[in-house]
């Protein structure tokens, strides 16, 4: 921050400091005041593994989207997500995912929105 800004009553640091102070105060009250703990009995039956796998898949999709290209990356992502959620019939998965992705791609193309075909294709053609 510039030295003249530091002298001002209200500068770029002021609001973050104020919010941090208020947040610390409220968090302290939340910790020390008596309150009811949330009911955690149902958490045992939750599908943690599936949820974690899906989050991992989404992150992986973000990582490979530009490299692999929209169509292959999205079809793979959707097919794997269906499989993680328990669908085992490969033909049904493909019949549900491929038309959705191609339809979406065609819609975007008709709207003039360019979706990356993938860097591997560009590298391959060089």
């Amino acid at each position: 921050m510039d030295f003249w800004s530091e002298e001002e009553t209200f500068n770029a640091r002021s609001l973050p400091y104020l919010i941090a102070l208020a947040g610390a105060l409220i968090a302290g009250l939340l910790l020390f005041l008596p309150s009811e703990d949330p009911d955690t009995s149902a958490l045992v039956d939750y599908q943690w593994r599936q949820a974690a796998l899906l989050l991992f898949l989404m992150s992986g999709y973000g990582a490979v989207l530009e490299w692999l290209g929209f169509l292959p990356a999205t079809i793979t992502f959707l097919c794997l997500s269906c499989a993680v959620l328990g669908e085992r019939r490969i033909l049904v998965i493909l019949a549900a995912c491929v038309p959705l992705v191609i339809g979406f791609w065609l819609l975007m193309d008709s709207l003039g929105i360019y979706l990356d075909p993938g860097r591997w294709l560009i590298w391959g053609s060089q």
Binding site: L15, L30, Q50, S59, L78, L85
Partner: protein
């Protein structure tokens, strides 16, 4: 006012905009019907589509989505007892028993008629109230706005469910803190960017809304996979209502419209409180015979919350359009959309962008008409969406959420950030931290800082601006009262108990 209404009518009544209202209502109904996905998710999912439109057209589409999502939520409440959002929980009290009795069509028709009537009466009240309030608020200064925003933020916490007051406040702080990420435009300083170019412009509100609502909801659906929904009986629905039935619910609809609108105008209250209050109010007013029917499939018990939640939705547009302050999570997302279109919401909106102001109001009414006459007959077909197996539905929701954000920035960093935000949101939701205050804090954060800075600069670096003007002082007093309300209530209860003990 008549000029304004005519301006709104001419804007909305073009084929393009009418199609947008219809499309918005249909898409909103479709998304809102999915258990867990409410108006916030529906609007967030549709915002990227509106970027190519004129601001007025964009807002017209989003208003349609808002109404459609509320109606869709009612449909899933009635058909499968799975309210999409908290605002339609009360609808399920009598709507689901009616559906179980084989009267699903009648319940859906009554819900649509009640929503229509509630929306229409509230739109009339909005037409009268909004311009007056907008003219009054033209005299507001930066200091007043700063305190008004503080009031809005504290009201959201004050109306939070029991036991979540401090959690709501903490989430508001988190939202405010996230809003400071990026470049501080007044000093040109980067804050909390960790040296990353991707964060220089701050966090996109769409990313935050999608991450905390749509995507987090999809993950929650995966987590709670054991709680399966029951199959829906859609064949042979009779969507007609008799004149006698309409006559018996007419007074209920009138009362609930006024109640719903007034509650909707209060920042922070919104559709949930309105629907529960209207339900309770009508139950108390009912005769003994009728009272026993509440909860067993009473038509009045269905009409009251349905009317009130729609009227409250319209009411919540009053602070948004006149003061630029959103009263709920949904209107906060709409405010974000307005800012994204390059429109500065607030009292000047009425003067600078009358086309947007009036077209939103008129589109609300047109949206209600379309919902009743075009959407209602389509419900048996749209409701088939509830039969899509979750192993295909959940990946589709995830895909559309991720694409909604990616197609705005074309930056895969946003996808990674969204996954992180969704993970945090799910953790916080499991710990019963509400998400709407976070979104509200985030969207109001920037404006709050600008107004505070301006007020301090105009006040020569002193904080005396808080007590200089009567308006500011009164608003500050109300804010303090709202903020310390739980403490005051405890104090009064303790005093009363002590006095009773002494006697």
């Amino acid at each position: 006012m008549l000029d304004g209404l005519l301006l709104g009518l001419t804007t909305v009544m073009t084929l393009h905009n009418l199609l947008l209202v219809f499309g918005g209502c249909a898409a909103g109904t479709l998304i809102g019907m999915l258990p867990g996905l409410g108006p916030i998710s529906a609007i967030a999912l549709m915002i990227p589509i509106t970027y190519g439109f004129e601001p007025a057209s964009g807002m017209i589409l989003l208003s349609g989505v808002y109404y459609g999502a509320i109606f869709g939520g009612s449909t899933s409440s009635i058909l499968i007892n799975a309210p999409g959002v908290a605002g339609t929980v009360a609808t399920a009290f009598d709507g689901y028993p009616l559906a179980q009795k084989g009267l699903a069509g009648k319940a859906l028709a009554l819900a649509a008629w009640s929503s229509f009537a509630g929306g229409t009466l509230a739109a009339l009240m909005l037409v009268m109230a909004a311009p007056i309030l907008a003219k009054l608020s033209l005299g507001f200064q930066s200091a007043d706005y700063f305190v008004l925003m503080l009031l809005g933020l504290s009201l959201v916490s004050a109306f939070s469910p029991p036991g979540q007051y401090l959690k709501s406040l903490l989430m508001t702080c988190l939202g405010l803190m996230l809003s400071t990420v990026g470049t501080d435009l007044s000093a040109g300083v980067q804050r909390f960017t960790f040296g990353r170019m991707d964060l220089i412009d701050g966090i996109s509100f769409l990313l935050l809304a999608m991450g905390t609502f749509a995507l987090a909801e999809a993950v929650m659906m995966v987590l709670k996979q054991g709680e399966q929904t029951k199959p829906v009986q859609l064949d042979g629905m009779d969507l007609r209502l008799s004149a006698q039935e309409l006559k018996s619910v007419a007074p209920v609809i009138t009362r609930s419209s006024v109640l719903g609108f007034l509650i909707g105008v209060l920042p922070g209250a919104g559709a949930t409180i309105a629907s529960f209050l209207a339900y309770g109010f009508e139950r108390n007013l009912a005769l003994d015979d009728e009272k026993r029917q509440f909860g067993q499939g009473s038509l009045k018990g269905l009409a009251a919350p349905e009317t009130a939640n729609n009227a409250a939705c319209t009411g919540s547009f009053v602070p948004l359009l006149t003061l630029g302050i959103p009263g709920s999570g949904t209107t906060a997302v709409l405010l974000g959309a307005l800012i994204a279109y390059g429109i500065q919401p607030g009292p000047r909106l009425f003067v600078d962008e009358p086309g947007v102001f009036w077209s939103v109001i008129v589109s609300m009414y047109v949206g209600n008409v379309i919902l009743l006459f075009l959407n209602l007959p389509l419900i048996p077909y749209i409701a088939k969406l509830l039969q899509i197996p979750r192993q295909f539905l959940i990946p589709s929701i995830m895909f559309f959420s991720l694409m909604g954000v990616y197609l705005v920035s074309f930056n895969t960093f946003d996808i990674q950030m969204m996954v992180i935000i969704a993970t945090l949101a799910v953790t916080l939701r499991l710990l019963e931290f509400p998400m709407a205050p976070l979104l509200l804090g985030f969207i109001l954060g920037g404006m709050l800082e600008d107004n505070l800075r301006r007020a301090i600069t105009l006040g020569d670096g002193e904080f005396s601006f808080l007590i200089e003007r009567p308006v500011t002082l009164v608003l500050l007093g109300i804010t303090a009262l709202v903020l310390f309300n739980p403490l005051l209530r405890r104090g009064v209860t303790w005093l009363l108990e002590r006095r009773a003990g002494k006697l």
